[in-house]
Subunit: 386 residues, 4 copies
């Protein structure tokens, strides 16, 4: 089988998750290319070496440029902090190499645009890690929408709520760094926006409201000595964002990004009402999808609970029997298959840098709208030419 | 026992519901006044007579003024169409009689203000039929909020969605009449607004978005003959309203009123996140309340499902054992008890015309805001002096 | 309207519940007879007087025989302790009066048989308070079964679990008195048995297992003084019963009665699998019924959640709109309507003493089977001629 | 890192699942031995070759004895049909090689005993694929039970219900072959029995009831030509088994195995009531566990929904954040880690052949008991010496 050399930048939560997906994908899918873990880059040599060993990469480096340049690295996979997405991706594209990058695409719209344009010019395949879209039940939801089973789309209520920053004493991290595109909207809101676009379509205008509930957070203690007297660091990004959205097809909705929602561990959820039916979903039970179809027999009508099975998306690749359930990591395996399939066969992957740029425009529009207390059209949003 | 003569205007869904509540209340609660069903008024004499007989009223009339004037009618209960709320209530207040009125209070803010002011001047007790607030689990939710159990309030996501107008061919009714304060926002949105105020407190500003999805509806066929060629009637009110809200205490939220939500029969629902916990509720399971408390034992933390029982609100009056569940009609019995208790003992009932006027201001603010595509402060909203 | 004089024996939880149902029934249903609360009997005159006043009965007595004999008492309603069911019912039947009696029918099978036979001979209508059967969703379940929608019945898993005796220190009550037919099986197991018969049909044989987990319980303190030194009383009845059942139609199942199930407030629940579909129900959400139909479209198949509405049983009498939900007390209103309807119109009520006797036979069979560690056929069970 | 050569027999659903687990385990866990996929055996050379290629094994064979004998095969993994478990396992043990075998252990108790005894004599590590026990939430349930958090165990209601044989026309497979230990009880009932033992402890006696609902099934069509005229094959095994169980610690319960339960895709479920609390679980939401603790604050008591997170079992190895959820295949990865950990470090794996033999005894006892319509003590069950 033909192989493809993988260069992975970053070895945190997502880095490990990607690495494991490469190891597993060929057992699940009929891949056109077999991934070979060529090189891992991390912040310093020690980390890189340890990660390379644990994740079974052939080489390691503390200089991502070397990884990009390495002749056997044929796919550059970026799970580094957000501010590094643009420089690494641009360097890779400059070498004509395809890029698989974690979300959000970039810290600023200008960066995102440059990345999109460079990818287009170079004609390289790209993929961005909005992994929840790869869920067979979300693929089924899209199929239901596209086939007209629930009719014209009328109302969308979406939310991504978690509680990992709900404790006022949760320490400052780079997720809180405005310069890195931080905040609840960028970090988790981008997921529900990606879902809204995937299912409902393009958004035409937004009206946002944002709040920084905890304007300072304790610095993460680097040395145990000073942990007693915590130093506080100012937070400028949103802890919660709510916004109204109008879609191009007329559908209206509310969206919310919230990392202060006590008790919510992974409430990426939506309800989508159409003129002929309704879909309800939450990532809390992501192997299910609820469907209500208009015009059922009276007295026997109700929401149906669809359970993931071989008739849904790529589920059958994982298991021949219904109801066994996929896990979060397996959504990443599907994602990795998408990029391999694009590179080895179809040439198309999704969501690519184009799509991620459109999502990024919405993030900017919501921020602008909230700041200026007015509706913001997506037409207004475009980066100045780089 | 002292009695109180009831005059009921209207005998539709709500009229019957009120009448039954008067029959039942004394068996459930220790009422200070025993209601006596004195007189029923309806649109014409035939309807009034039939309803009086079926609901066991002593007298009937087709002229609500006679009911108001009747010396033995000591409480005027209004379940007539919205545009009659104001004239009947004002007439009753003019006679010094207390008023129990269905929601929304009035068709216009000017009417609502006049009703509120008249009641204040006359010093009569009033109650408005926001019955979902009377639910023991909602009373418990408020208790949890007021006691600080979930801390400072941060985010509220509220919705009232049903599907009774979801069929594009559902016929035109007075609920669709703009002159009568119709539309999804007034009709059902007022419920979730009443709940938001009850739990979170006053709203300071709103930003609305509204849509009339079906701009015409078939006229209700009066004669079977012409049912083949339906005549269409123009609809000007909203089928769905979404809005952002800022509360005076800083809490931020989204609210939605939607009567096109296929499959939703009674989805009056909210999630309320505080700095120390979360409450989740839906009227679809209204004998339950979900509570997450911060700082639970690691590995043993989770949302708790509280089931209604004798420790919650007035539940014990209905049943000594937990988990047996109240029905919708029983919320109305609690409501009727509120007004009897006010009249015979405490002097205080809630939500009264003051509260209903505050809710009405929000309805107006949302409409204005949607029309003008801008944030609307509640401070702006006030009726011109009548 | 014709009236019927009600004589009620007992004014505890169930007595109050019945009295309230009489007050409410005429507002909900088109009753052929209007109930008039004639006389209430209780253990002593003080209790009887207080209850009569609170529940609005015309007369009261401490001697139930007087109530039975009273010429204006036309229906004898028994909510007295179990050991009084037989003598009161037999006395009423001797007077040719219909009887509405709480469950279980009697303490012993001989009593139950005598009651059934007397009612048959006298030709009086009877009704027994297995109120959960009156639920519109249970009526719908039966309709689904009877119409063949789920095909041949194959497996039934039923349970009635609560936690009101789960605390080892919960005091001794008459529910624990073997002489009064006490124990979890008689007290709550009779409900799930009534449901099994209603939905699946006659049981042919059973195999039981029983356990008295707490063989003694503290006596209920009568005087606060001695509460410090609790006296213990021996318990002989079952705290939990599990049994296998074979139905006449071949369906097989397990049933459980358990009052030690911490956290369960009203878990009367079943799953019924047929050759063409499945029904799932729990009284914890008793306004819902889950239905799975075989041969749904692949990829769109799932359990449907039916929500109670006007298309289900008598729901429409309570509310014209779906999803508003009935409460426990309203199941009793439906039950009261059944007996009024039988007396004033149809002549038929259900479940009557015949049915209740069949249920009682199963209770005996399960007890025998558990005691003797063997399958017990229902054919074996018959009372000696009285 | 030290490696271990894997020899896998079988490449069906479970074979693929095991192979993928070997590929993934080292990325998730700190394994003491790195698995190397040495050899795959299957029914014929073509199948073996294709599977070896797709699952990335170095060698292949159609003769499992060669696999067992191969010097580089250091762990024999058996996912072959049930009747091959014993000969392969015994051959492997004879070579002193550890065995990882799918459930149920064997077709007959004699075989199972021989396997257990051989493993003991040879001192080799063994593991049997009762993978649902490896679920972090089941590990948490056991922790809760063992720590006494829910007190003394009183009642267990367990079920494993699916619908893969619910269609009367579902074709005959080896799962229906009595000679291979087929039937719902062996095939899926063994899972709920393994769970009952894991959580509650040893069972002392059982009372079973079994039914073959469909006594013949169409033969699987081998050639499309004859599909019109299906030939039927007689079925002798149970389609559904219900049984009562007494545990050694006094706990009582009902268990059910049922592959005719329309709508149930993976309903491996239980409720376990203790003297201080209750646990409720279903594999339908296997990343959750419901816990009710006695003595909660009145009015704030309820079942808690625990969501899988880093505080539960081995979850943290898969994901640092809670609520992301594991999939079915990941339970197999945990299982594979167990055997690697046993071989490379602890020497102990669980459930081993000893445990699987105990489970097998219960299968036999239930069958005997059902056949003879009597309680069957586990003491009675022992295989004749081989």
């Amino acid at each position: 089988m033909k192989t493809i050399g993988i260069g992975l930048v970053g070895s945190g939560f997502m880095g490990r998750c990607h690495a494991n997906a490469y190891s597993s994908v060929a057992g699940i899918f009929d891949v056109p290319l077999k991934p070979v873990l060529k090189m891992l880059a991390d912040a310093n040599l020690e980390m890189a070496e340890a990660a390379a060993q644990s994740l079974q990469f052939e080489n390691f480096t503390s200089d991502w440029q070397k990884l990009v340049d390495h002749p056997e690295v044929e796919l550059v996979d970026i799970t580094a902090p957000n501010h590094l997405h643009a420089p690494i991706a641009l360097a890779a594209i400059a070498k004509g190499k395809p890029v698989y990058c974690e979300k959000p695409l970039a810290c600023t719209l200008a960066e995102a645009k440059a990345m999109r344009d460079a990818a287009t010019s170079a004609g390289v395949a790209t993929l961005v890690g909005y992994n929840y879209l790869q869920n067979p039940m979300i693929q089924t939801a899209r199929e239901i929408v596209q086939s007209g089973e629930i009719g014209e789309l009328l109302s969308f209520r979406g939310v991504h709520a978690e509680d990992f920053m709900a404790d006022a004493q949760a320490p400052y991290t780079t997720r809180l760094d405005a310069g890195q595109g931080g905040g609840a909207l960028y970090d988790i809101g981008s997921h529900i926006i990606s879902l809204a676009r995937f299912l409902v379509g393009p958004i035409s205008e937004v009206m946002g409201m944002q709040r920084t509930v905890y304007p300072e957070r304790p610095e993460a203690a680097k040395h145990s000595k000073i942990s007693g007297s915590k130093r506080m660091k100012t937070v400028k990004v949103d802890d919660q964002t709510h916004f109204l959205a109008r879609f191009e097809n007329g559908c209206c909705g509310t969206l919310e990004a919230n990392w202060l929602a006590w008790g919510r561990k992974m409430n990426l959820a939506f309800e989508l009402n159409g003129s002929k039916g309704t879909l309800v979903f939450t990532q809390e039970h992501f192997n299910e999808l609820r469907l209500y179809q208009a015009n059922q027999q009276p007295g026997r009508d109700g929401f149906k609970i669809l359970e993931a099975g071989p008739n849904h998306g790529t589920y059958a690749k994982f298991c021949p029997a219904p109801g066994h359930q996929l896990g979060f990591n397996e959504l990443k395996i599907i994602e990795v298959f998408q990029i391999l399939h694009a590179l080895g066969a179809s040439g198309k992957s999704w969501p690519d840098f184009h799509e991620a740029y459109e999502i990024q425009k919405i993030l900017v529009a919501v921020n602008n709208s909230a700041k200026e207390s007015r509706w913001c059209s997506l037409d207004e949003i475009d980066s100045p030419s780089p």
